[in-house]
Symmetry: C2
Subunit: 351 residues, 2 copies
């Protein structure tokens, strides 16, 4: 039997962090090739190729500076060569490039392989409305795909601070294999069977974080903020059951790291909350605020809110999701954030 | 048919706040006597009786200053006279005085009345181990008793900031009656059937808040804090099922205001978190820290942790609850807080 191989497709701060973990772990397992190929979108850094820097100094100086990567993590600028012969594909890239990259990888992907997505977001399609990123992977590559989510700030994980993650995967055998590759003393994995719930919590929580920021920006206290976070959490849950109920999301998922823990972390720190505060305390358009305060990076929450809003509007369900709706309207400046609380005064949860 | 009557037993900051809400609401319902009697433990304030001050200036100057109470809230220094003829008893007092007060009230309590407890804590008994405060009320007064819990900081509620609360009550008819009396535009009530889950979340969350404070005091980031909060949440859940499983706690309760929202609020602010930080950053004994930093008030979390620890030890279950156990040992200085994370490294959740 030939040895198994893991490849990491993507090398941002989260991708590099997870490559570090898998690279260290894999050496313990004789059934695996110890080399972990990592696809790196090639860039020039001070006249040197980023892949060369990673392969000689074992550091992703651009996206994860000051963290040593294990020497068995090999940067590869060619996604086909990185993905070829892999038994497990760890997919962790900016999701706007996902479809293009999948198309490129497709011819070389082993039919017996499996994937795990670490991406937090949603895809949009004219046919399906909102689409899971893992469904894009499953459909194009025709392999099973798990999701790893949780309260995982890449910088903290790369510094080996204790945290948890959730792997959602239908197949328990695939689940224990993945857990073995990812779990360390400081990165604690819980495997659950709920693939869609796990993935959707990771995407939808960013909308709630914008709401939490708006409330903070308006000067409300901890009480009100906790109420808003909870109502957002309930809308996440209802949304998941409403649109993905046929795929059996589970109540328990909301108490996992991908649910409550990731929600808490995101509502108390990070870009989406920051944008919420900015929206509540200025009159500037979102694009301007992102430019000024996120150095041109974008926050995921407003995008996800727009996608969710489009889906709810099409189905005539806006009234069931007053918080999601209000976030989108504040982000697009159709609605004064000062009235945010009014939208919640008669929330369906309280009827 | 005679008019119904509501009495509030207790007049601290939370008792006075709830009296304000009920006093305002009750005037809308013709089936109720508009007067709400509130039992006040008599004290002298600058030479005047606190009850006289409340009944003339309609303000509880000691426990809820600067908030006007409705004129139909009548302070009564005699608990028997306050409780007599009441159809609904709202019980909200420091729980160390509960048994004594119940014994005093017992002879005058209407057999057809019902109670609702707003107290967050546990009682201990040699016979039962840990006991619910509502069980003390049920047993002594022989009437049904609901619980109102949630992320409810009295000061914020008294200022009419938007928040939510959970009423746990077995009888749906009693539930809708109670909701009518407590719900306002800013104080939003969800009624659920899980009496014990509602009450226990309110008590156990304080242990988790001490843990969150310890982690913050040790300098860990949001990620680790979220993981610790979640593990504490899972221990709360397991504890409730382990010791009160025969009373049918419900999974959904943990997503209500009494669950996740109250937990978040308590882990990001308040005395218990503050004590956790102090325990992690000094070597002083808890009593000394409470004296210095809480002006002699005590924090509920360490007490609850001690009660829970005693119960777990007796049943040989300490290993299933490493976070609860570690909190108690840090509070009693049997264990160096620096090693707190080690206790979680092999948490049962991750096996």
């Amino acid at each position: 039997m030939s040895l198994k191989r893991v490849s990491v497709i993507g090398s941002g701060n989260w991708g590099s962090t997870i490559a570090k973990i898998v690279g260290n772990n894999i050496r313990k397992f004789p059934e695996y090739v110890s080399e972990v190929r990592m696809w790196v979108f090639e860039e020039m850094i001070d006249g040197r190729k980023l892949t060369d820097i990673i392969n000689t100094s074992h550091e992703n100086v651009k996206y994860l500076p000051n963290i040593k990567l294990p020497e068995n993590v090999i940067a590869d600028p060619d996604v086909k060569s990185a993905a070829r012969d892999a038994d497990i594909l760890v997919i962790v890239m900016p999701h706007q490039f996902l479809n293009r990259t999948l198309a490129e990888m497709k011819p070389v992907v082993k039919p017996t392989s499996c994937a795990i997505s670490l991406m937090k977001g949603l895809a949009l399609s004219d046919v399906h409305g909102i689409r899971l990123l893992t469904d894009c992977i499953r459909d194009v590559l025709n392999i099973p795909c798990a999701a790893l989510m949780g309260a995982n700030l890449a910088t903290e994980v790369s510094q080996e601070n204790y945290c948890e993650a959730t792997i959602g995967v239908d197949d328990p055998k695939m689940g224990s294999e993945l857990k073995k590759l990812f779990q360390t003393d400081y990165f604690r994995i819980v495997v659950i069977k709920d693939e869609v719930g796990t993935e959707l919590c990771g995407a939808l929580k960013n909308i709630v974080a914008v709401a939490a920021g708006i409330i903070e920006g308006l000067g409300f206290g901890d009480n009100t903020k906790a109420a808003v976070i909870r109502l957002g959490f309930m809308e996440m849950k209802n949304f998941i059951y409403e649109f993905f109920g046929d795929r059996h999301p589970q109540e328990g998922t909301f108490l996992e790291s991908c649910g409550v823990a990731d929600l808490i972390t995101t509502c108390y720190g990070g870009r989406n909350k920051q944008m919420g505060i900015a929206l509540a305390t200025t009159n500037e358009p979102l694009a301007q605020l992102e430019k000024e305060r996120l150095k041109g990076q974008s926050a995921q929450g407003p995008l996800t809110a727009a996608e969710v809003y489009a889906m709810l509007e099409r189905k005539g369900l806006l009234e069931k999701y007053p918080l999601f709706t209000a976030v989108h309207k504040v982000c697009t400046r159709q609605f004064d954030p000062k009235n945010f609380i009014c939208c919640l005064a008669n929330h369906p949860e309280h009827r």
